[in-house]
Amino acid sequence: MNMRFKLARVAKDLTQQDLADRVGATRQTIGLIEKGKYNPSINLCIRIAKALERTLDELFWEET
């Protein structure tokens, strides 16, 4: 579960569908990324990061 991703989206007051529309993805894809069940391409990650005004690290980096 990618909670940072979900929190960033909620903080921007965006629904999954809103974010999907902004980044050119489907709502299901956004949902699966939030659940950690789909690994997006780096291009989609960048579009999401720009849409949420966050860095890639803030959204996707996992400390081991």
């Binding site: 999907a20 050119g24 993805a25 489907t26 299901q28 894809t29 989609l44």
Partner: protein, 145 residues
């Protein structure tokens, strides 16, 4: 503004491609099974199976060619030894198969099959080697840009 009913993104496109690959494989296996069933169980003459056999053969040959060209099958640098080995395996397998298929017993018939198979295999391997070489050249050019 109405949203389109069907939307796609990288995940859906990737899924569709996986499904297509899976069904292509199933179709090819099913066609091979149909060929064997019609030939061995129903005892249909070989002349009636040529359309399906050609379809399956052409598909597999083109699939290998496309995979070599686009780098789906990475074989490294095209070298003579592997190409010759592939050629010899194709010729041996093809000669054995055609000898069995046509029930040939005389040396003349088997030699005839051998010459036909060797010629077709040479063309096939040459085309595949050229496609692999041209594909590699293209990839090298892209990487050097």
């Amino acid at each position: 503004m109405n949203k389109p009913s069907f939307r796609s993104d990288e995940r859906t496109i990737s899924l569709i491609r996986k499904i297509c690959t899976c069904f292509y494989f199933v179709t090819m296996v099913a066609l091979c099974c149909i060929l064997l069933y019609r030939q061995l169980i129903l005892g249909q003459p070989l002349d009636e199976l040529h359309d399906l056999a050609m379809l399956v053969t052409a598909n597999i040959i083109l699939w290998i060619g496309a995979a070599l060209y686009y780098g789906g099958l990475t074989i490294g640098r095209v070298r003579a030894l592997p190409v010759i080995l592939i050629y010899l395996v194709l010729v041996a397998a093809g000669t054995i198969f055609t000898t069995w298929k046509y029930g040939s017993t005389t040396f003349g018939e088997i030699a005839g099959h051998f010459i036909t198979v060797a010629t077709i295999s040479a063309g096939l391997v040459a085309i595949w080697a050229i496609l692999a070489y041209v594909g590699q050249r293209g990839m090298d050019r892209e990487l050097s840009d």
